[in-house]
């Protein structure tokens, strides 16, 4: 099953989303800030990253740019998660190097369809 790295500082959000994804059969790893997110993504072999954008240490935008800059993670699919449906967030996320974005609170079905679309073999 696909391995997903969830980078999220809020404990409840992290717990909730990881459990829901796990129930859908994904293997979920956790990072609690941007720095840890970048380190784990580079170290482990993940199929996809769910990246919260407002993170301590380094934020989601910067973390994404660092992952894109590194050879081993330059092609790793990243879905940005932003707080409110802000106009322009999508552009900013794509510009920073994300493959897609979704808004919180999470609508699970919508997020799952975006995850499936980006996983290998989906196309």
């Amino acid at each position: 099953m696909a391995k997903i790295l969830l980078v999220e500082d809020n404990e409840m959000n992290r717990d909730m989303l990881s459990r829901r994804l796990a129930r859908k059969g994904y293997e979920v790893a956790i990072a609690v800030d941007g720095r840890e997110g970048v380190e784990k993504a580079k170290a482990g072999a993940y199929d996809l990253v769910l990246m919260d954008m407002s993170l301590p240490e380094i934020d989601g935008w910067e973390a994404t740019r660092q992952l894109r800059a590194a050879a081993e993670t330059s092609a790793l699919p990243i879905i940005a998660l932003t707080a409110h449906a802000m106009s322009g967030d999508r552009e900013r996320a794509l510009e920073a190097g994300c493959n897609d974005y979704d808004t919180k609170p999470i609508e699970l079905d919508r997020l799952l369809s975006k995850i499936k679309a980006l996983l290998p073999g989906a196309a």
């Binding site: 959000n13 829901r20 707080a83 409110h84 106009s87 552009e91 609170p105």
Partner: protein, 883 residues
């Protein structure tokens, strides 16, 4: 007053300010009026126009030589190489045109004209005909070395100058002719004096007396002439009465001649020494009987004649009286001729003296004094009893008497309506009038019923065709009448009085203008300062003194920017000032008061440009220290509010996300575990959480819009796809009240460049409202692409959301788009919602260059229509379209 006037005069510095131009025109006008002869008029015109304030540098006056058609230079300024009395031949120079048709001619570029005379300037030229009583006598030529140098204002000034010069020349010529006539008249009378002088009169009277004595066969006799002023007879011829009585003065009633002079009837005294009326002066004469007769012209006494018998045997009878009467007319005529002659000579002398003194009047500016002097001279010169001068008040449409002399009352201050009395009549008809008998005249004014006036001559006072006043002269003596000669003399004075009135009016207008401007500036709450080219302060108003703390005396002459700036703001201020010399500048800056305290000001700098030439600039300062402080406070408060709302909504959303997320997650788990009751409760928690979230989002949106921090993100999207997404999203809401959703697409919808997220939010909002207020009905979403005003690329997308729900009354619709204004409070509890959705929709529409409208019938449903431009420029709406 004088200090204040000083300020106003200097408020606009340099050449050509309105006040300075008016002052120059007044000097010109006074100069022309003061000219004592024709040559002086021409000199006054050119020197008056050659004024810094008017800016005419090359000009001259030519007179037309009627014999050969040449123009002969009379006076000029700025042409160094032309000879005196320079003749411009017929056919050369553009100035001939003005002479030919009597109109002003403007030649913007003389070098393009065939008649161009290369010896003069090669720029533009204005030629104004010089006219005297409608006849063109010459031309005023004004040149510039630049082409296209003159405009409408110049034409006005030069026309006025030429007109005044024409009047002055007419008057000078008239005066000159009159003085010549007076001179000739006096010379003639002086010659006649020698021929038929007083010696001649006494010789005539002696001859008459001698013939009477011999014809009547009497002993002797006397002839006396009557001195009207002293009411006495003076004996001028005396024969054989026992003494030489020549030179004896006899009162009326005294002696024989005094008796007949009084009774105007002849008298025979049979025995003089027994007669009671005998005069003591004649007590020693050798006289027995006397016959005396008055000498009269008509009924007017001019003298008396007496004959005497020394012989007691001789007496006088009717035959003697008849014989005497045949001599009396001859004597009377001789006396009257001599008297008239003397009077005429005296008058000629007076005339000459008066005409010589008229020049003294010109140039005097105090109107009532000038007019009184003009009137007094007119009265003396015309030999009339008295007269009046009145000024025409255009505003009141009435004459006001300002000078009055000897008409039986002081009429000064009397107001006459047009047509009232003699002056009112001429003010209306604009032609002179002679009234032989005023008290029988039908036009007489009730205000003049008490005057001692017999006949009247009145004339209007005109400047060109404009009435400025009226003059009247009167005779109280019924024997005196007015004739053409009097009218001619009166016309000598009329122009002078008219010019005096006009000058006074010009002066008053200039004064008023100055005072008006001065009041405006000194009472203005805005600080006003004027500067010269070097940024030095020329003047400032009290508001400037108050704002910056510098008294005027201290400010004037100093550089503005070194006075009221700090080191930090100096360069910015100097840049403003320098720029303002060219064109108006407007800005906000910080300046420094005298005490060093800062003051925030709104600055308006305006160049002062007169006749296309910069003369300096005017600066206006408005104290906005408090305004700026208030704005800073408001901005700080607003920023704090936005910050608070942003962090607040974030803080609220984090726990809310947990509520929504966990309730949804647990619901899924419970459903899998087969607990439908618990799942329904969890669904309620989830729905309430979602509602709360949308409320928070709406409040955040609205506060962002109000703070101006809601940004637009324009992207390109397919309208049809967007509609599909919206329809899918809204589906659960449609189903809830068992409504049907119809999506209608009118024609090709194409793509839009707009804020997709906001458009989607608006449509979802309208659809969700429609679903909420409709049960088992139909909700229609219709979309159409229309071209606006037929212009390609300016297309509009129209989205209409129609429901068959409860609808609204007009009153409800009024407040529909205001925040927190759901039609009624009760609907909130029944239908839910925040009351913010439509307010946000409206704001979004405006941001996106469109609008939203509503139509509704209570009970039948509502239609909300959103119109948005198909292509929204991310730039301001009036910026050019991207290609």
């Amino acid at each position: 007053m004088s200090a204040a006037r000083h300020t106003a005069e200097r408020l606009i510095p340099g050449r050509g300010s309105l006040a300075r131009r008016q002052a120059a025109l007044l000097r010109l006008s006074t100069g022309i009026a003061a000219a004592q002869d024709e040559a002086a008029v021409y000199r006054a015109v050119v020197s008056g126009l050659h004024d810094e304030a008017l800016g005419y540098n090359f000009l001259g006056v030519f007179l037309l030589d009627e014999e050969d058609g040449d123009r002969v230079l009379q006076a000029s300024v700025g042409w160094p190489d032309v000879p005196d009395a320079w003749r411009v031949p017929h056919g050369r120079g553009v100035s001939e045109r003005a002479i030919e048709d009597g109109e002003l001619h403007y030649t913007p570029d003389v070098t393009r004209e065939a008649e161009y005379l290369p010896s003069l300037n090669s720029g533009s030229e204005v030629d104004v005909p010089l006219q005297v009583e409608g006849r063109t006598i010459g031309v005023l030529v004004v040149e510039s070395s630049e082409p296209n140098a003159f405009g409408a204002e110049d034409f006005e000034i030069l026309t006025a100058a030429a007109r005044q010069a024409g009047i002055a020349v007419g008057r000078a010529r008239l005066l000159e002719a009159e003085r010549r006539r007076a001179d000739e008249h006096k010379a003639l009378l002086d010659t006649m004096q020698d021929l038929v002088g007083e010696l001649q009169l006494s010789r005539v009277l002696h001859a008459v007396l001698e013939r009477a004595v011999s014809l009547l066969g009497v002993t002797g006799g006397e002839v006396a002439i009557y001195d009207e002023e002293r009411k006495e007879l003076i004996v001028v011829a005396s024969e054989h009465i026992g003494k030489d009585s020549t030179g004896t003065r006899i009162r009326l009633g005294e002696g024989a001649m005094g008796a007949v002079a009084e009774s105007l009837e002849p008298l025979i005294i049979p025995s003089y020494h027994e007669w009671l009326g005998q005069s003591a002066q004649y007590a020693d004469v050798v006289v027995h009987s006397v016959m005396a007769a008055p000498l009269t012209i008509g009924r007017r006494l001019v003298g008396a004649i007496a004959t005497v018998h020394a012989d007691p045997q001789r007496g006088f009878g009717p035959e003697d009286l008849r014989l005497l009467n045949s001599f009396t007319p001859q004597a009377a005529i001789a006396i009257e001729n001599a008297r008239l002659f003397t009077a005429e000579r005296q008058r000629a002398e007076e005339q000459k003296a008066l005409l010589d003194t008229m020049r003294d009047l010109a140039g005097e500016l105090e109107l009532s004094r000038v007019l009184q002097a003009v009137l007094e001279r007119a009265v003396t010169l015309l030999g009339v009893t008295g007269g009046e001068v009145a000024i025409f008040d255009e505003e009141r449409d009435a004459l006001e008497v300002v000078a009055s002399a000897n008409i039986g009352k002081d009429s000064t201050g009397t107001r006459l309506a047009p047509g009232e009395g003699a002056m009112g009549a001429v003010a209306q008809s604009l032609v002179p009038l002679i009234i032989p008998s005023y008290h029988e005249w039908l036009g007489q004014s009730a205000q003049y019923s008490d005057v001692t006036v017999h006949s009247v001559m009145a004339a209007p006072l005109m400047i060109g065709r404009r009435l400025v006043g009226a003059i009247a002269t009167v005779h109280s003596d019924p024997a005196r009448v007015f004739g053409d000669e009097d009218l001619r003399l009166l016309n000598l004075f009329a122009p002078q009085a008219a010019i005096a009135i006009e000058n006074a009016r010009l002066y008053a207008a200039a004064q008023q203008q100055r005072e008006y401007f001065e009041t405006l500036v000194s009472n203005s709450p805005v600080a006003i300062v004027t500067l010269d080219h070097d940024h030095n302060i020329v003047s400032c108003n009290p508001a400037f003194e108050r704002l910056f703390g510098y008294p005027r005396e201290e400010a004037v002459g100093r550089q503005l920017d070194s006075l009221i700036t700090t080191e930090a703001t100096r360069s910015e201020a100097v840049a403003y000032t320098t720029e303002a010399l060219d064109h108006p500048v407007h800005g906000i800056g910080r300046r420094r008061r005298k005490d060093g305290s800062p003051v925030d000001v709104e600055v308006l700098g305006v160049p002062v440009i007169v006749d296309g030439q910069r003369v300096g600039l005017m600066g206006l300062y408005h104290d906005i220290t408090e305004l700026l402080a208030a704005r800073r406070d408001a901005e700080a408060a607003n920023s704090a509010k936005s910050q608070f709302l942003a962090s607040m909504s974030h803080e609220l959303r984090t726990p809310l996300n947990a509520i929504i997320g966990y309730s949804e997650m647990v619901q899924e788990e419970v459903e899998e575990m087969g607990e439908p009751g618990l799942a329904a409760d969890l669904q309620k928690i989830h729905t309430a959480g979602r509602h709360l979230l949308s409320l928070i989002n709406n409040i955040l949106d609205l506060s962002k819009i109000e703070a101006g921090k809601m940004d637009l993100f324009v992207e390109r999207f397919d309208v049809g796809e967007m509609l599909d997404q919206v329809a899918t999203t809204v589906r659960p809401l449609v189903d809830r009240n068992r409504n049907a959703l119809v999506v209608e697409r009118d024609g090709e919808l194409g793509v839009m460049w707009s804020d997709l997220t906001k458009l989607r939010q608006m449509l979802l909002n309208l659809l969700s409202n429609a679903c909420k207020f409709t049960e088992q009905g139909t909700v229609t979403l219709r979309a159409e692409r229309v071209s606006s005003n037929g212009r390609a690329g300016r297309e509009t997308l129209v989205f209409a959301v129609t429901d068959t729900g409860i609808g609204m009354t007009p009153e409800q619709m009024d407040r529909l788009f205001e925040a927190f204004a759901q039609a009624e409070a009760s609907t909130t509890s029944k239908y839910g919602g925040t009351g913010l959705g439509l307010a946000i929709t409206k704001q979004f529409c405006h941001m996106m260059g469109g609008d939203v409208q509503v139509e509704s019938v209570p009970g039948a449903g509502s239609t909300f229509t959103v119109r948005l431009p198909a292509r929204l420029d991310p730039l301001p709406a009036d910026a050019p379209e991207p290609n």
